[in-house]
């Protein structure tokens, strides 16, 4: 079993999202849960949330959970605004 490496999320732009994409692709070929820390997100955008939603969905299909670490109100609020909280597996509070 591969060691469980924490995925730290950073704000990204349309230009830099390619990096996150590559990382997520890499993670998908692993095994086990993926802990994701969203603390550093202050300016979330739709592209990132869309990407993460796809990631969460694909992980689920592999029966692997996303484990959300840290806190970011900006992130959670954005996810709720876009109606993606459930898909992302974020703790739902209403």
């Amino acid at each position: 079993m591969t060691s469980v490496e924490l995925l730290r999320l950073n704000d990204c732009t349309m230009r830099s999202i390619g990096g996150l994409h590559q990382e997520l692709v890499r993670r998908l070929s692993g095994t086990g849960p993926v802990p994701v820390d969203r603390t550093d997100i202050q300016r979330p955008n739709t592209a990132m949330l869309q990407l993460l939603a796809a990631f969460a969905r694909d992980l689920r299909a592999q029966s692997r959970p996303i484990e959300w670490r840290g806190e970011s109100t900006a992130f959670d609020r954005a996810a709720k605004t876009l109606g993606l909280s459930a898909t992302l597996g974020l703790p739902v509070d209403g």
Binding site: M14, R15, S16, I17, G18, L20, H21, L24, V25, L28, P44, N45, T46, A47, L49, Q50, L51, A53, A54, F55, R57, D58, A78, K80, T81, L82, G83, L84, T87
Partner: protein
């Protein structure tokens, strides 16, 4: 009695070329993933009317070809076939071939029969195969396929919408599907969940019970012109309540019927490139929240697996329920920025897709088609009597329509108003008009001058009359000049197709952004600026934008962007062509220039000077020249053409980031505000827009450089002094600086001081060409006729600067 049809030929050709342009534009829209029933209809109508005209005028080849084309388009229109990538390419080629055919027929030259035959064969093959290739419009297809089971199920009266199908159904279908489900009064939780919670109850009322509609649907074969069944509680046979009458004049009845504070159901389906345009749904939804509470439900049905998706493309669409009592306008305003980048539907919960929404500006049958089609599956559901055939055909009609509900009303209505209220006028008539007005200006100037010298009270009256005349003349002139002005969109229109084809050929991903398309230019300028723009765009794609692999390796988006932007600035028009490609490679340019002896080995050049080297004839640093932009033959021609129009072109570029070419053009060709100056006995006109300031110099203000060139200090810079009498070979009133004046003028980014004897008046002058009877003179841009009938030459400041520097060098 034989009718001479030749008189109709010209208008047939003109109208056909226009129809081909419209067809091409519609085809290109299909390309971007928007299967558009309106678009396909536009294309079909174009082919159909061309066939008719050609047949009537006896153009057999054109008739036969358009007939085959029409057959294929009919299949697409009725939904018997999907639009696939190969089909689309074939259709675009057909447009090209038709253009060639018409041009040949018009010029009474032979048509390229082989090419036509080949393409005709391809078209027939597609029809015969009913090409099953994956449709271009994937989302719609998924919707269609998902929608179909719902439909058929619905048709049998059993509205069992499997949760899954509702989930995968394209967004447009969702409400209807759930509505179908709702007819059973038991909306399966699954479908409701993904389709948006509020949709279920609302849509159940809607769309159900279209007893009348399906019948019409069957007959219209996809063009559902649903009869104007009254809104509100109706007995439409199948126990339905509210029907969705399409083609009914925008009735607010359904809107009012719904409770005012039920808010709005908004269906928001971004086009894939929405994010790349700089729009973010997050921002929009946040703004929406200011109008009330928002519940968002995301549709991820087309979101590909992570490994396959492109993170910059938007795959998600939403259904939002906005709670609160705001107006439709307020909602629409929130989505203002996204026009053209998304599909948007705003409706009341409880009402059907309100007719007002869809019917605005769109031809009733098309609006009907869209609404009807979407309501199709549902309508079939309500109608127990609906024959399966009807369901099938509506289902068939649904796919193209579903993915493309009528575009947001706004731009359709624009089309409608633009089409009416115009007439064709021959360009010679306009030119004659402009010439006559030009003569009027001169006559009026002459009269004014005569009036100046008179005395007495009658003279006063005369002068005031003349002054009024001058005001009227100015207005007339402006109006007349505007007649010749056309929006630059005319020149921009060829680019989407060109960029698409070229990018495809070169395996590059390029997105074209157009801005300022409504900026108007004089027709002649417009015609002549086309080719230079083509060269610049071609160069951008060929040498500027890198292939996707290189771009991603450099941390750039795989899509390169080329922007064309036009705007007014001061007395000029600016047209920018910019790209986010590799930028100019200064080192390579310099090396090439050195190797060609254009630049000395030890010369030091500024960045701008290095960039300008690419405008030298025969210059090309491309490693291999493609047949696309040729051996750099483009650049010097670009500069030349722009100069001929009285404009200039400027480059700014940053290696790794991209380049920008800025073309500046004069607003009109034939009128200029000028300052008259006296040099010796001759009067010259200096265009006011080139003048910065006039001042008097003393001999001590002027220094000599390298013996020959005089310079003086102006606002911190040293500018060259040009003695016009010397340049033109005239005997001046005085050579002494303090007895004359220096006019500081600017052109092509450079400044110069022009020494003249005296400043005379300022007036608007009509530019007359020197070239038509004489030829080009360096430093002179044209001539004008003064009030006294004599000719005055108009100075061309950039030309003067060049002429002066050449003399110094000599």
């Amino acid at each position: 009695m034989t009718l001479d049809l030749a008189q109709f030929h010209e208008s047939f050709f003109e109208e056909s070329f226009e129809a081909l342009d419209a067809m091409e534009a519609a085809l290109l829209k299909l390309d971007v993933g928007v299967a558009d029933h309106d678009g396909i209809n536009t294309i079909f109508r174009g082919a159909h009317s061309m066939k008719g005209g050609a047949a009537m005028l006896g153009f057999a080849d054109v008739t036969s070809f358009t007939h085959t084309l029409e057959t294929l388009l009919d299949e697409l229109r009725s939904g018997k076939m999907q639009v696939s990538a190969p089909t689309l390419d074939c259709l675009l080629k057909s447009v090209d071939v038709l253009r060639e055919m018409l041009t040949a027929v018009r010029a009474k030259k032979p048509v390229d029969a082989q090419r036509v035959a080949d393409l005709q064969f391809d078209l027939e093959a597609i029809v015969a195969r009913k090409d099953a290739a994956p449709p271009v419009v994937a989302p719609a297809a998924a919707a269609a396929q998902a929608g179909a089971p719902a439909t058929l199920a619905a048709a049998t009266g059993q509205v069992v919408v499997p949760a899954g199908s509702a989930a995968t159904a394209g967004h447009a279908a969702a409400p209807a599907a759930s509505a179908a489900a709702a007819a059973h009064a038991a909306a399966p939780a699954g479908s409701a969940a993904t389709a948006g919670h509020a949709a279920a109850p609302a849509a159940s009322a809607a769309a159900v019970g279209h007893a009348a509609a399906p019948a019409t649907a069957a007959t219209a074969g996809g063009q559902i012109a649903a009869p104007a069944t009254p809104a509100g509680a109706t007995n439409t046979g199948a126990g339905g309540t509210v029907s969705a009458p399409a083609g009914q004049p925008p009735s607010s009845s359904s809107e009012h019927a719904a409770a005012a504070d039920a808010g709005w159901i908004i269906e928001f389906k971004p086009l894939p490139h929405l994010l790349l345009q700089g729009n973010d749904p997050l921002a929009i939804f946040a703004a929406l929240k200011e109008l009330g509470r928002v519940e968002a439900s995301a549709d991820l049905s087309v979101l590909p697996p992570v490994a396959k998706l492109d993170p910059q493309i938007c795959y998600v669409s939403w259904q939002l329920h906005l709670h609160g009592d705001c107006s439709r306008e307020q909602v629409e305003e929130t989505f203002d920025w996204t026009t053209g980048d998304c599909e948007l539907h705003i409706e009341r919960p409880g009402g059907a897709r309100s007719p007002g929404e869809v019917a605005v500006g769109a031809a009733p049958s098309e609006a009907g088609a869209t609404v009807g089609a979407i309501a199709g599956p549902a309508s079939a559901s309500g109608a127990a009597a609906a024959p399966t055939a009807a369901a099938a055909s509506t289902a068939g009609a649904a796919p193209p329509a579903q993915a493309a509900p009528a575009p947001t009303g706004a731009d359709h209505s624009k089309q409608v108003t633009a089409e009416s209220g115009s007439i064709r006028v021959g360009i010679d008539k306009i030119d004659e008009l402009i010439n006559t007005v030009g003569e009027l200006v001169i006559t009026q100037a002459m009269l004014s001058e005569l009036g100046r010298g008179l005395e007495g009270s009658a003279a006063e009256l005369l002068r005031s009359g003349l002054s009024q005349l001058e005001r009227n003349m100015r207005q007339l002139q402006e109006s007349v000049m505007r007649v010749r002005m056309l929006p630059i969109s005319v020149a921009f229109s060829r680019f989407p197709r060109m960029v698409r084809d070229l990018a495809q050929r070169l395996n590059k991903k390029v997105e074209l952004k157009l801005a300022g398309e409504q900026t108007e230019l004089d027709k002649t300028v417009l015609e002549k600026i086309g080719d230079p723009l083509v060269h610049l765009v071609r160069n951008s794609i060929d040498h500027g934008i890198e292939i996707p692999e290189i771009r991603t390796a450099a941390g750039k988006a795989p899509f390169g962007t080329i922007s064309l932007n036009a705007y007014h600035t001061g007395g000029h028009i600016a047209v920018e062509v910019s790209d986010d490609g590799a930028g100019l490679d200064k080192a390579r340019i310099l090396a090439k220039a050195r190797s060609r002896g254009l630049v000395g080995a030890n010369d030091v050049l500024t960045d701008d000077q290095i960039h300008d080297l690419i405008f030298l004839p025969g210059f090309s640093t491309a490693e291999k020249t493609t047949d696309v932009s040729g051996r750099g033959v483009g650049m010097d021609v670009v500069k030349q053409r722009v100069k001929e129009l009285g404009g200039s072109v400027e480059i700014s570029s940053e290696r790794g980031h991209g380049s920008r070419f800025l073309i500046t053009l004069p607003l009109t060709l034939s009128i200029v505000d000028g300052q008259s100056v006296l040099v010796g006995g001759e009067t010259y006109i200096v265009p006011l827009t080139s003048i910065i300031e006039s001042l008097q110099l003393k001999p001590q203000n002027v220094n000599r450089l390298s013996g020959a060139c005089e310079v003086f200090s102006f606002r911190g810079d040293y500018l060259p002094l040009v003695r016009l009498y010397d340049l033109f070979g005239i005997e001046p009133r005085s050579r002494a600086l303090q007895e004359g004046l220096v006019v500081v003028a600017e052109g092509d980014g450079k400044r110069v001081g022009l020494f003249v004897d005296e400043l005379l008046g300022q007036q608007q002058v009509v530019i007359k060409s020197m070239e038509s009877n004489y030829g080009h003179i360096d430093g002179i841009s044209g001539a004008t006729i003064l009030g006294d009938g004599s000719v005055a030459l108009i100075l061309d400041v950039p030309g003067l600067i060049r002429a002066a520097s050449m003399r110094v060098a000599a």
